[in-house]
Amino acid sequence: MSLWLVLAVNSITLGGLLFLLSAGFSLIFGLMKIPNLTHGSFFMLGAYLATSLIARGFNFWTAALVGGLLVAALGGIVERLILRRLAGAELAQVLVTLGLSFMIADVCLMVWTGDPIRIDTPAGLRGATSVLGLGFPTYRLAISLIAVIFAAALWALLDRTRLGAMIRAGVDDPAMARVVGIRVSRLFTIVFCLGAWLAGFAGVIGGPILSVYPGLDGEMLPLALVVVILGGTGSLVGSLVGSFVVGFLYNFGQAMFPELAYVVLFLPMLIVLVVRPQGLFGRQTV
């Protein structure tokens, strides 16, 4: 009985981390129609940068914000210099992001070497909290809270601000958006930077749980892919729901069918793609 409770709560906390990971990916995929395969590398890079910042005395949360900003800056450069030149050629953009992920991964290996690096849980969130009689790591519960806050903030951004309205217009119909005077290409840069910031920030937030090591990028990217495909591209609600669905699939799947661990994740994604290619909450047909 307690096993199922632990798994259920962990599904929610893991879902929270996955949301932070995938929100950026979903935004970029939804607006720019690019499955940004560099997303995992941004996640890993943010975490690595934070380890260096923390080693220099920054506090965890500052390192998370600053790490995210540095990754966002890189994202902006990538978007303006490289992706912008390939506007419209989606396949080329996918391949470029793949090539970039090789480059970023190798640079990380060069700078931080191959040893895994531990990130300490921020003070105040260490230890366990009691939920329904069982102890759960406080930090993980905090991640769920952070995820909810970000979901609310992103929703407010998309639903209540002009920028959000422009983004939604760009997702629904880029041609029309241009016609009414929205600077879609500048929007692209902003969204890509935002997506990269979210990825880097998520990498740092995930650090106390995952630590940082070479190969982290390749481990997290498929999860982001599954979340976004399941939930629907370009849809915030879709990412949120998708994250929790994947959180549940992951936890219960690993516990009940450990041999089919990968299949349990990708089979639902395949089924959704075949039956409803735009995902559970997606709007446009992919």
Partner: protein, 408 residues
């Protein structure tokens, strides 16, 4: 000054040498050691340490073995079997190495073993695949480190007899190295009266171990065999989940070189390894001090393993008088090596090419601001068959996911 050769400088040097008029002296060719390692990708952590270990050795010997100059040719396999095959061919056919140290992973070794045996190329590897020296032995293979289960047998003995654990859960990655480690522990632990209640197998790539940690209960201890960067993740999540059971670890799960990355969650972990940084032999002191000086970290089993392979190669070359053309004589000399002052203590090889030597039980402690593994017991003369009869052992199936089976 390092004479470590990269491919680049090796070829430049050869090109230069080819253009210079060489006097017709009987100048002996340098002995070429090929290193198969992984320098890119997730396995790079161990691979880089392997290169450091063999380089450290060659520096200590001033790049001269048995009176002959020695050269190291480094090949990056990328951590995949096809790449390893290609690099092995490169070393054998293009670079004409005399012997190969490495590769790192069992699946890399399995991809090249037939080819290397055909080419009669001696291989000194750390890869722990059991059958390489058991049921499908390669006659040109020498392993000075351990088989997967060789360090787990003494650990199980210690756990049952001295720690008096009765019930344990094992958890390790779902691949051959994990299966073989846990299989070895399982057999000896149950033969000593204990019981392995459950065996958990998370996939090699598992971001979150919680689904497995949640299944751990009703036991005295947890036995893990994680490798690479997984031990760090696992121990942190273990502690976060509030689990307080003692943890027993395989050789790489609490490797000395990994200690600098751990936090307090590693304190109290008891592991068994062929190498321990606090071993008090002159060669280990020299080796460890050199490693700290050059690379800023105490060595673990990857670096030590390669350093020791260098010593084995040197000893064999001394036996053959520096000659390497006769491969049969070389492999015979390699397998006949028996050393006493090494970073892992005394050892020799059995007739299948696997080491018989000391294995050390260590406990992880905090000394000042560093974590160290302190040796608490030494098991001498441990072979790959533990105390079992060799014929009986080889007649059993190889350790695998379902063997030995969990008794219900």
């Amino acid at each position: 000054m390092s004479v470590r050769l990269s491919r680049r400088s090796f070829l430049v040097g050869t090109a230069l040498a080819a253009t210079l008029p060489v006097p017709a002296l009987a100048q002996s060719k340098p002995v070429r050691i090929g290193l198969l390692t992984v320098k890119t990708g997730p396995l790079a952590q161990g691979g880089i340490q392997m290169e450091q270990g063999i380089t450290r050795f060659l520096k200590d010997r001033n790049y001269t073995l048995a009176g002959r100059k020695a050269e190291l040719v480094v090949a990056d396999t990328g951590g995949n079997p096809a790449g390893t095959k290609t690099k092995t061919q490169e070393l054998v056919e293009r670079d004409n190495v005399d012997l190969i140290v490495g590769p790192l992973a069992a699946f890399e070794l399995l991809a090249i073993t037939d080819y290397a045996a055909q080419a009669k190329m001696p291989i000194l590897s750390l890869a722990a695949a059991e059958d390489m020296t058991q049921r499908r032995p390669n006659p040109y293979f020498v392993r000075a480190s351990a088989t997967s289960a060789q360090s787990m047998h003494p650990l199980a003995d210690y756990a049952a007899k001295e720690l008096r654990f009765k019930r344990v859960v094992t958890i390790s990655e779902d691949f051959a190295f994990g299966h073989e480690q846990m299989g070895g522990f399982h057999r000896v632990f149950e033969d000593a009266g204990g019981r392995v209640v459950k065996k958990l197998w998370p996939p090699l790539v598992t971001p979150d171990y919680t689904p497995y940690l949640a299944q751990i209960s009703g036991v005295d201890a947890v036995v893990q065999g994680f490798a690479g960067s997984n031990p760090l993740k696992f121990m942190k999540q273990y502690q976060d989940q509030g689990l307080k059971l003692p943890v027993l670890s395989g050789s790489v799960g609490c490797d000395d070189a990994l200690l600098k990355s751990f936090g307090d969650e590693a304190i109290g972990v008891i592991s068994c390894s062929a190498y321990t940084a606090d071993l008090d032999t002159p060669s280990n002191k020299r080796f460890a001090e050199g490693m700290v000086r050059d690379y800023g970290n105490i060595p673990g089993i990857y670096a030590a393993g390669l350093y020791i392979n260098g010593m084995v190669a040197e000893a064999a070359l001394e036996k053959t008088g520096g000659k390497t053309e006769d491969k049969e004589a070389l492999i015979k000399a390699l397998r006949a090596v028996s050393l006493t002052d090494t970073p892992r203590g005394p050892f020799r090889f059995d007739h299948l090419g696997n080491v018989i030597g000391n294995f050390y039980i260590r406990r992880c402690e905090r000394k000042g601001d560093k974590l160290v593994n302190t040796t608490i017991k030494t098991y001498p003369n441990v072979s790959q068959f533990w105390t079992y009869d060799e014929k009986w052992f080889l007649a059993q199936p190889v350790y695998s996911r379902d063997y030995p089976p969990v008794k219900s």
